[in-house]
């Protein structure tokens, strides 16, 4: 119970913490949730999900190994976000700390809930804190941009609400197991329509190709911590929903109908995102489009509904979180110390800040999926499986490797080397080095032995009929 409720309790306490202690408090609370979940995972047997009942009729929790992986990831991400911002103004603000912890609670809820309505509730709950974070700490000139983000996500989630209601009416079930056992193929086209509702919500969140227009501006204008939260963990809600809920439940007519449309959109996203990323001048916008490209690959691969692929997709999800925290942190550091993240204004940082150059370089290589990093395992196997589906999809998906190298090397080379435009640059603070080190170690460890993760999640991924 404390596993889930701890962030909520901390976020309520946070409002009464004096502002001198806010950043320490944020760090301590995220460390304690991370420690608690890490300790629990040692005693966790993957065939015995942990059940939690808070006395609510429509919301119950059951933590299986996939849920646990996402839970650990969430807690780690929040810890890293607080740690990496330790020297910034942002974490001194009570509002940010409290809202971030509330968001952590919402995310943990999504990853652990066992009922479809609970899934929806927590899905929407995360919207409230991120909206306020973007509004208070973002750098939006006009409220229109932030409202655009809200419009997209709300429209998507209301489609999902209709689908949830329809699903509960059609099957008379509300738990995960109940929905799995229900025969949705009997519904025929209705099940296709219901799945469409879910997919719309997910497509906005992931985001898939035509629904991505909120992403670039939101990422660029949001505070770095907000961007990290959005890309490292909030987008994973949608992939998790696809992986755990929608694909197993709608397995049959509905998934057959939607498989190729989603794969095609994913592929368009891969190539389109990469090409746009190459042309970007702002580091944060560049990384936003890179994210579009990477997540398109995962979404396309998930639609293959193959057990092995799903396990690798989890590795890639974790890897993307690592990469996006690292890259957005680097972009944030540059923006914070120089005042701009425009590539044309940058150059020669490596000379004045060798430590930053080293760690940013490591993260760039992780993002490039060089062998012995998690990205290599993830992308290589996902592309292999897309080849197995159809040669053309495989070829198009491989474009991510080549185009990815182009924009990532550009993003690294332009600010760090080249003509010297930056003469003074404060090198990394210990808290930032710690974050980079943790991320690099995690990426390399996962790259060397991905089976520790794939074996762990195998049990909860093998249950659905594959």
């Amino acid at each position: 119970m404390a596993l889930i409720l701890l962030p909520l309790i901390f976020s309520l306490i946070a409002w009464w913490i004096p502002s001198n202690f806010t950043r320490i408090f944020g760090l301590i609370s995220t460390i304690s949730t991370l420690t608690l979940s890490a300790v629990t995972v040692c005693y966790f047997k993957s065939n015995e999900p942990i059940l939690i009942d808070l006395g609510l009729r429509f919301v119950r929790f059951s933590i299986d190994s996939l849920g646990f992986t996402m839970m650990l990831l969430t807690n780690a991400v929040f810890f890293l976000v607080f740690l990496s911002n330790f020297k910034r103004e942002l974490v001194h603000d009570i509002r940010f700390t409290a809202l971030a912890l509330l968001m952590q609670f919402g995310l943990l809820g999504i990853f652990t809930t066992n009922t479809i309505l609970g899934f929806y509730l927590f899905w929407e709950l995360t919207l409230l804190p991120i909206f306020l974070i973007l509004y208070w700490f973002g750098n939006f000139e006009k409220p229109r941009a932030i409202l655009q983000f809200f419009l997209y996500t709300l429209l998507g989630s209301l489609a999902m609400l209709l689908a949830v209601i329809g699903l509960m009416h059609a099957t008379n079930q509300q738990t995960y197991e109940g929905l799995l056992s229900a025969d949705l193929n009997a519904l025929g086209n209705t099940s296709t329509l219901l799945m469409g509702g879910f997919l719309l919500a997910f497509a906005v969140k992931i985001p898939l190709f035509p629904f991505h227009t909120w992403q670039a501006e939101t990422y660029t204008k949001a505070p770095v911590a907000g961007t990290m939260l959005l890309s490292a963990i909030m987008l994973k809600m949608a992939l998790f929903g696809l992986l755990k809920w929608v694909l197993p439940i709608f397995n049959g007519i509905a998934t057959d109908f939607w498989r190729w449309p989603v794969i095609v959109l994913g592929l368009i996203g891969i190539i389109y995102g990469a090409i746009i990323a190459i042309r970007q001048n702002n580091l944060k916008t560049l990384f936003a489009y890179a994210s579009l490209s990477h997540l398109g690959l995962i979404a396309a691969a998930l639609m293959l509904q193959n057990g092995e692929t799903n396990q690798i997709a989890v590795v890639q999800i974790v890897n993307h979180s690592i990469v996006s925290i690292g890259l957005f942190l680097a972009a944030g550091i540059i923006e914070h110390r120089i005042g701009t993240a425009e590539l044309t204004g940058l150059g020669g940082i490596a000379k004045v800040a060798p430590r930053f150059a080293f760690w940013f370089g490591v993260l760039t290589f992780v993002s490039l999926s060089v062998p012995f990093t998690a990205g290599f395992i993830g992308e290589f196997f996902l592309i292999k499986d897309l080849f197995a589906a159809h040669n053309l999809t495989g070829i198009l998906a491989s474009a991510t490797l080549i185009l990815g190298a182009v924009y990532m090397l550009k993003a690294y080379q332009a600010p760090m080397f080249g003509p010297t435009k930056v003469t003074s640059f404060e090198d990394l603070h210990w808290s930032e080095i710690t974050v980079f080190a943790i991320l690099s170690i995690a990426a390399i460890y996962l790259g060397l032995s991905p089976q520790c993760l794939t074996d762990f999640v195998a049990h909860s991924l093998s249950q659905p009929t594959l």
């Binding site: 929407e124 709950l125 919207l127 509004y135 409202l147 809200f150 419009l151 429209l155 609400l161 209709l162």
Partner: protein
């Protein structure tokens, strides 16, 4: 019945105390009266209506009465500050509210159309007076006259509808009307037109498009205290009356009407939310928001045998009352939205209440507004799925209206000025805030 007697007596007492210029005693007496009425309803309420599908704890009938009493209690506390300062009309205000509530209780769950109509008039006439109680204000006078004329017109239409139905079926009793209609009188044009007039009169009372035109002007002219009462209690009563009357009359034939009702829903929601978007006056914004919410409430008619309206109207009232209270806190004499800029920074409780109330109105979980909307859609989706889709699209527009207000209120000011809430306002904001969070446990 007990509740009505208690309310009437405490209203009379309040009137006398008010004449002696003792506002606090009048408030205490009215509050005691309301509490007593709620308790009486709770202990007497062993009657279960055929529509008692929703509440497991309290039978439906007493649930409405208790809800109405609590909402009124919050409304008079939220608006009390003004009447403490200018205590000339405190007693009048409080006792008129209580008298009007007597009518609301009579009208909310009728089994007889005559009784229903009397209840409606008892509810309406004090409100005509209340709207005009600001003697010095031209807007208030205009609103009172406008409300009086349009309201009387609507009552006449309603009465005409009742008369036609009586002509067709020979009874005022809902049960008899229903059984007479069931044997085929339904085909008679008299019954058809009568029901149509009834529906129009109802739509007018709850302010659904195309019978909404009185709303914004009247709301703008009323004082915050009256607005709080008017925008909540009247709507709750109206929608309960519709559900009860039509739940009986249309029991076997509602598929004739469902398209018409869908049209009312869609028009009200889109019109209300789209028009609310550009308002510069808070009271007009609340008026348009209430028009849209009236549309949503009509979803209760989608599944007439099993209508889950309780949670929605409660959530709506518990979100509207804190907002109007905050408007009172912002500036007593003006309802311009510019007063709202940065208001959340003046007081932490105001900030919290405001965020939760607006998110609740926008229907974001885990707040009460979401569960209300969910329970309405839950029964509507199998019957009118396309209307539900349109309603959700309108809700997105609605979310924008509320978020725009929220962003205005949360804008960080250059200089922070603290301002204290009065004790009654604190209680109102605390209660509504807590209840909009804990609604989670009701569903």
């Amino acid at each position: 019945m007990d509740s009505i007697v208690i309310l009437f007596i405490s209203g009379l007492l309040g009137l006398f105390v008010g004449m002696r210029r003792q506002p606090l005693s009048a408030l205490v007496i009215s509050s005691l009266g309301l509490t007593g009425a709620a308790l009486a309803a709770y202990f007497r309420g062993q009657y279960t209506s055929p529509l008692a599908a929703y509440t497991a704890y309290i039978p439906t009938q007493s649930a409405v009465v208790i809800l109405l009493c609590i909402v009124t209690l919050l409304a008079i506390w939220g608006g009390y500050q003004r009447y403490r300062q200018e205590n000339e009309h405190t007693g009048d205000y409080l006792s008129l509210v209580l008298f009007s509530l007597c009518g609301a209780i009579m009208m909310a769950q009728p089994n007889d159309l005559m009784l229903f109509f009397i209840g409606l008039e008892i509810l309406s006439i004090p409100i005509y007076v209340l709207v005009g109680i600001e003697k010095g204000s031209a807007l208030s006078a205009e609103a009172a006259v406008k409300y009086f004329f349009t309201g009387s017109f609507a009552s006449a239409i309603l009465l005409f509808g009742i008369a036609l139905l009586y002509g067709a079926t020979g009874s005022f009793q809902l049960v008899e009307i229903q059984s007479n209609l069931a044997i085929g009188i339904w085909q008679s044009p008299m019954a058809m037109i009568g029901s149509l007039f009834l529906l129009a009169g109802f739509a007018f009372k709850i302010g659904a498009v195309p019978f909404h035109f009185w709303g914004p002007d009247v709301y703008q002219g009323a004082s915050n205290a009256v607005l709080m009462y008017m925008s909540t209690v009247v709507k709750i009563t109206g929608i309960y009356a519709i559900v009860n009357v039509f739940g009986q009359i249309f029991r076997d034939s509602y598929f004739y009407w469902i398209d018409l009702i869908s049209l009312l829903i869609v028009l009200s929601m889109f019109y209300g939310y789209i028009t609310a978007w550009k308002q510069t006056s808070f009271k007009r914004l609340i008026a348009y928001s209430s028009i849209a919410n009236a549309g949503l409430m009509l979803f209760a008619l989608a599944d007439i045998h099993n209508s889950n309206i309780f949670l929605f109207v409660a959530a709506y009232a518990f979100a509207t009352i804190p907002l109007v209270t905050i408007n009172e806190f912002a500036d007593q004499n003006s309802d311009d939205l510019s007063n709202w800029e940065g208001i959340a920074w003046k007081n932490p409780l105001v900030g919290a209440a405001l965020v939760l109330a607006l998110f609740s109105l926008a229907g974001i979980p885990p707040l009460a507004g979401f569960f209300g909307k969910f329970s309405l859609l839950w029964s509507a989706v199998p019957h009118i799925p396309y209307t539900a889709v349109l309603a959700l699209i309108a809700s997105v527009i609605g979310a924008f209206v509320y978020l725009r207000l929220l962003m205005l209120a949360l804008k960080k000011p250059e200089v922070q000025v603290k301002k204290a809430l009065s004790a009654e306002q604190t209680i109102v904001l605390l209660l509504t805030t807590i209840s909009s969070i804990t609604a989670l446990y009701l569903i």
